[in-house]
């Protein structure tokens, strides 16, 4: 009888533990390495990733300090072809420009900033979900900015990066608004790189992380943006 009682108590305790009542959720911490640096979230695997796509105001700090110019064909970071406020994601940055920005952050902070790989970005955006989008199977409404995401201004341009709810890993604009450059190459000579996560002009199916587009590393588009990562130190 006593053994039976003990077993019952143990079983009840085990079920509590199973329900994760004993473990608090990890704190959502956001860090910044300098005044003008992008906010970084700490992913469960220890990598730091910018909480949102790099914004126009964050990128402006880089331009003002370095005199960066994207010359040649196409749109410019401060001339995207539609209205952009300081909290909009910066667009029209080439992959090469994105790498320059990451290098500048590294020099400024002493930390090792870089552009994410496709795998790192996919891990952060999916946030341990297995559905089409991190919020579910259907694109729904008011989750992201895309062509067919249920907003009045669909396909008119970018929106501020904090317009929508963050994903479970605390990433803003995890999907939509701007495609994100990754370091993944389409071929051995790396003249073209892949971009992930869909942009403001993309149909909802392009927001699935199985979808990849690619372009030359010197090509600016007003649907392309950047995120940066750095290792834990």
């Amino acid at each position: 009888m006593r053994a039976f009682l003990l077993a019952t108590v143990l079983a009840v305790l085990a079920s509590f533990a199973h329900a994760q009542l004993l473990l608090p959720k990890p704190e959502l911490r956001v860090e910044k390495d300098c005044e003008d640096c992008p906010e970084m979230v700490i992913l469960p695997d220890g990598l730091y990733m910018s909480r949102a796509p790099v914004t126009v105001s964050e990128f402006r700090a880089f331009v003002e300090e370095t005199g960066y110019k994207n010359t040649g064909w196409g749109c410019k970071w401060n001339f995207s072809g539609f209205e952009q406020g300081p909290r909009h994601p910066v667009t029209c940055v080439t992959f090469e420009g994105a790498e320059l920005y990451a290098r500048w952050l590294s020099q400024k902070t002493g930390k090792d900033y870089r552009i994410p790989t496709g795998e790192e970005l996919t891990y952060a955006v999916r946030a341990a979900t297995t559905t089409n989008y991190w919020w579910g199977q259907q694109v729904g409404r008011d989750r992201a900015t895309c062509l067919g995401c249920g907003r009045a201004l669909d396909a008119e341009g970018t929106t501020p990066v904090d317009t929508f709810e963050a994903n479970p890993f605390n990433l803003l604009d995890a999907l939509g608004n701007v495609w994100i450059w990754t370091t993944d190459c389409t071929s051995a000579d790396c003249t073209e790189r892949f971009l992930l996560s869909g942009g403001w002009s993309s149909p909802p199916s392009d927001l699935r992380m199985s979808k990849r587009i690619y372009n030359g590393v010197t090509v600016p588009f007003n649907t392309y943006g950047i995120r940066v990562v750095r290792e834990f130190e």
Partner: protein, 269 residues
């Protein structure tokens, strides 16, 4: 029993023959390559290809597109990129009804975006029971080249362009005197769009394989399906690389342009 069967069979074959002749050979599978036919009165003419698909013999004309647009409510004056002096302007009030210049019923329809061009193909599919769509970029190139390995479907000499295609020629220059680009100095007879059979067809019998208006394709730009490729150059284009069989450009699928139209492809049955 055998007697009954043979009678039934002969009855069927008579029925089949009647069906064959009454509907015409067009709707049956055994259409010879090169045959020109259409699936309904308002449908675009198609040219049968070797692989069983059929390609629009001409670009979709204004009359053909109007029949669809009026039935389904495609806006004709919402907005369209039109050529103004030296640049493109996304003009309100322009559209397939009014692209900014005069068009006859046999001119190619312009100012429909990719979504509307695709909707037209879907509408044809529903109407005819066949599967219509836009050709892919590769299909469009193959139909244009018609087996040739030269730069242009007529050969390697771009100097023949004004006899072969509607490009930005002296008539264009007269209409847009301020245009700083190097405009062609030959005369193709048209400043803006031309009737879809105004120029000689390529060896496959396809009209406006290049020139007149760009043609939307079903192919995404580097995987990005918010942009689609179009190929074939247009009445605004003087540069020879765009008239090559593989010449291409692209734009967002929601934008309309007065130099972009399309042709349809019917899949094999």
């Amino acid at each position: 029993m055998t007697h009954f069967l043979s009678r039934a069979c002969s009855g069927l074959s008579v029925l089949a023959a009647v069906f064959y002749f009454s509907t015409g050979s067009a709707s049956l599978a055994q259409v010879a390559p090169g045959t020109v036919f259409s699936d309904c009165d308002d449908c675009p003419e198609l040219t049968m290809l070797d692989n069983g698909t059929a390609i629009g013999t001409t670009l979709v004309t204004l009359a053909q597109f109007r029949a669809f647009a009026e039935e389904t409510g495609v806006p004709g004056t919402e907005s369209c990129f039109v050529r103004i002096s030296t640049r493109w302007d996304n003009a309100q009030g322009k559209g397939w009804m009014d692209p900014g210049f005069e068009q006859g019923d046999d001119h190619p329809a312009v100012c429909m975006n990719w979504l509307e061009a695709t909707a037209y193909a879907d509408w044809l599919s529903e109407k005819t029971g066949q599967f219509y769509r836009l050709p892919t970029y590769e299909e469009s190139v193959a139909v244009t080249a018609a087996g040739a390995t030269t730069a242009y479907w007529w050969g390697d000499d771009f100097g023949e362009v004004c006899a072969r295609a509607n490009a930005a020629d002296v008539n264009f220059k007269a209409a847009f005197p301020d245009d700083k680009r190097k405009i062609l100095t030959c005369d193709d007879g048209f400043a803006y769009t031309s009737p879809v059979t105004a120029f000689p067809p390529n060896p496959l019998g396809i009209y406006d394989a290049v020139g007149n208006v760009w043609q939307w394709t079903n192919t995404c730009l580097k995987g990005d399906c918010s942009n689609a490729l179009f190929r074939g150059a247009s009445w605004v284009v003087p540069a020879k690389n765009h008239f090559r069989n593989d010449g291409q450009w692209s734009d967002r699928i929601i934008l309309r342009n007065s130099a972009v139209g399309f042709r349809v492809l019917r899949d094999a049955q």
